[in-house]
Symmetry: C2
Subunit: 106 residues, 2 copies
């Protein structure tokens, strides 16, 4: 039980769940229809996502709607931030190269 957002998105099923509920809240049953596993397996994935606060539950009668908790997703974005400079730099260099080539053609 690591309860780590990076570990949470490591599983492809969980990533798909996040994508699905990003569009609209869904019940475990409805989600399970998208996968080749049992409802209980999906339930376990949802539990992990809930522990990481990546999803929010909303009971509605006997159904539970799972909704994306978008705020947490920003943590991944924050981690990426340290690398963003590097790849912007790289693409910046590419831009420069293309510009040089263009100038030579003129």
């Amino acid at each position: 039980m690591r309860r780590d957002i990076f570990q949470a998105i490591a599983d492809p099923t969980r990533r798909t769940i996040l994508t699905l509920i990003a569009v609209q809240a869904m019940t475990p049953n409805a989600l399970a229809a998208y996968f080749d596993t049992t409802r209980q397996a999906v339930s376990k994935h949802l539990k992990i996502l809930a522990e990481c606060e990546l999803v929010r539950q909303e009971q509605q009668g006997r159904e539970i709607y799972y909704q994306l908790e978008i705020g947490r997703m920003k943590e991944i974005d924050n981690w990426l931030e340290q690398f963003r400079k590097l790849w912007e730099n790289r693409f910046g260099q590419l831009d420069e190269l293309l510009l040089t080539l263009k100038n030579k053609q003129q």
Copy 2:
């Protein structure tokens, strides 16, 4: 052996390795000094990162320098893209709320 970039960054040691070599290329030995594990364990992490093409190796005598392959990191950014709209929206709504509160004070 999943060779999946999301699975690669799931491990905290591997994330730290990526952060370290983002600054400058490093050898397995130098990296191992940062962790409470054996050099061989670090070597295994590097192998996984290499399989995902997140690092590039450069032999120099008997040492091997590992360097960050920044391009692959953009895949994570691309996956985040689908959620970015949502959280920008959310913070947009927050901005609006703050603006309303400010106006009320006046």
